[in-house]
């Protein structure tokens, strides 16, 4: 865990983000063109229009979640912003960590819930918000709190929040597009096909092949997209754990905190399926008891603790 790898890791994260977004966008447009092609019976203008419409929706949703996602999430979680006077120690712990990481001070929110959990949001370090539950605040020692907040600040520092938001939107729109396409096949949608055949003439066999490819892709790509999304999410959790130790130089703090979090039987009431991936541990199901699955957002807690304790020499 040399310092160097840490900085290069952040740089690589940023590069990967862009590569992934570009690759996803290319795939997305290609799929849009293909579906438009099948719908429009080979009419080029119609397939371009379909791709453009899908791309436009994805673009608007991405922008909206980029700028507004944080406040929506904080609102959904019923988080209330606090000031230093409300909890000097909590602010001190966060300020210490921002010094260690050379980060600006994030805004801090409390969620009034006895379940123990925390999450970070905001599109970049300057707009970062960290939210923790009152249960977590009360049950952790200073060192454990430091570990958890270090994990959250690492998400901020690695631009994980931006990354997760963009991927979530793109996967969402992709699933939507495939869904609409598959439904349209049920409805027949042959109205345009005959007209397309008139203007083009011939090419019926190629059209059928295109339709089959589109059908297969529409079925497979949402599943693939989700598996990739979850794999990235788990990777990011490990990375944020390592990042926390880079800041605190104290793996035991976070390890103890994770053990406490895993033992906490309470369910966070304000969390739901949509917001679950953002928390430090999965807020809904007892995670570590389930076997590892490719659809999990978080790695098993036992694994995370083992990796942390490996850092204690």
């Amino acid at each position: 865990m040399a310092v160097e790898t840490f900085y290069t890791q952040i740089a690589r994260n940023k590069r990967n983000t862009w590569l992934l977004i570009i690759a996803f966008a290319v795939f997305f447009i290609a799929l849009g063109l293909l579906i438009g092609h099948v719908w429009g019976g080979g009419e080029v203008r119609f397939s371009i229009a379909t791709a453009a419409a899908a791309g436009g929706i994805a673009f608007i949703l991405t922008l909206a979640s980029y700028y507004g996602g944080g406040s929506v999430l904080l609102g959904l979680s019923q988080a209330k912003e606090i000031t230093k006077a409300d909890d000097p120690q909590l602010f001190n712990v966060v300020e210490e960590l921002t010094i260690a990481g050379g980060l600006p001070m994030p805004r801090i929110f409390l969620i009034n819930d006895t379940a123990m959990n925390a999450f970070a949001t905001g599109r970049n370090p300057k707009h970062a918000c960290v939210a923790i539950t009152t249960g977590l605040r009360e049950k952790l020692t200073r060192d454990e709190l430091q570990g958890v907040l270090g994990h959250e600040l690492s998400h901020v520092r690695h631009y994980d929040i931006l990354f997760a938001t963009l991927i979530a939107v793109m996967v969402g729109v992709l699933v939507m597009l495939c869904d609409i396409f598959l439904r349209s096949l049920w409805w027949g949608g042959g109205g345009r096909r005959s007209r397309g055949r008139d203007s083009r003439g011939g090419g019926g066999g190629a059209m059928a092949i295109m339709a089959i490819i589109a059908l297969v892709l529409a079925i497979i790509s949402p599943i693939l997209a989700r598996i990739i999304q979850m794999a990235i999410s788990r990777q990011r959790e490990y990375l944020a754990d390592a990042g926390s130790v880079e800041l605190t130089r104290n793996p035991e703090g976070l390890a103890h905190a994770l053990a406490k979090l895993a033992d906490d039987p309470e369910v966070l009431e304000v969390a739901n399926r949509a917001t679950a991936p953002l928390y430090i541990i999965h807020p809904i199901k007892k995670f570590e008891e389930r076997s590892e699955s490719i659809f999990d957002t978080h790695p098993p807690v036992r694994d995370r603790i083992e990796r942390l304790m490996a850092l204690v020499r």
Partner: protein
């Protein structure tokens, strides 16, 4: 002929652009080091500012512990007046020791320990100790990034050309000082 000239010109332009890029990134990393360094001073000053307050508060409850209180004040003044890295490190070391003693002493005064002002000051001071060590850690991290950038090829050629010198790491002979004192109290 003209194509060869164009290619040579193109290569020269690219090289100049590359040099500008490396130069700017080195400058940026060096500035980050300087910022990190000044952050250490900010946190040290924060500690100096907190101490008179602390001493006043303790005086109200444990006035006859004059010796310890005076030692804290003295160590603080010495640390402020210290010149050079080495002397400063020694003075800071003494101050840390004196503070630790002061907090150990407070255990014997239940009234003092129950004082809200004292508790707040204790939290602020223990946080400041963490801040100082985190600021040093951040300086060393920044220095490591800068040094690696300035020493690896081909950046080292450009660094040599423009006089980018190696940044020293913050190291202390006394390990007790590197570890911030454990005045923190788990709650």
């Amino acid at each position: 002929m003209t194509i060869a000239v164009l290619i040579i010109l193109g290569v020269i332009v690219l090289m100049i652009l590359a040099i500008i890029g490396v130069y700017n990134s080195l400058v940026q990393k060096r500035i980050r080091c300087q910022e990190a360094w000044s952050q250490i001073d900010v946190q040290l000053k924060r500690r100096y500012d907190l101490i008179p307050n602390l001493v006043e508060t303790v005086k109200g409850y444990a006035a006859h512990e004059k010796e310890t209180l005076e030692r804290v004040i003295q160590a603080r003044n010495q640390a402020i007046a210290a010149q050079g890295v080495r002397q400063q490190a020694e003075a800071e070391n003494m101050l840390t020791g004196a503070l630790r003693q002061l907090f150990a002493l407070s255990e014997a005064y239940p009234n003092l320990k129950a004082n809200e002002n004292f508790l707040a000051l204790q939290e602020e001071l223990s946080s400041t100790e963490n801040r100082i060590s985190f600021a040093r850690q951040h300086y060393n991290d920044s220095a490591a990034v800068y040094n690696t950038a300035a020493q690896s090829f081909p950046n080292n050629v450009i660094a040599g050309m423009f006089g980018f010198q190696r940044q020293d790491y913050f190291e202390l002979e006394d390990t007790a000082m590197r570890q911030a004192p454990k005045v923190s109290f788990n709650r």
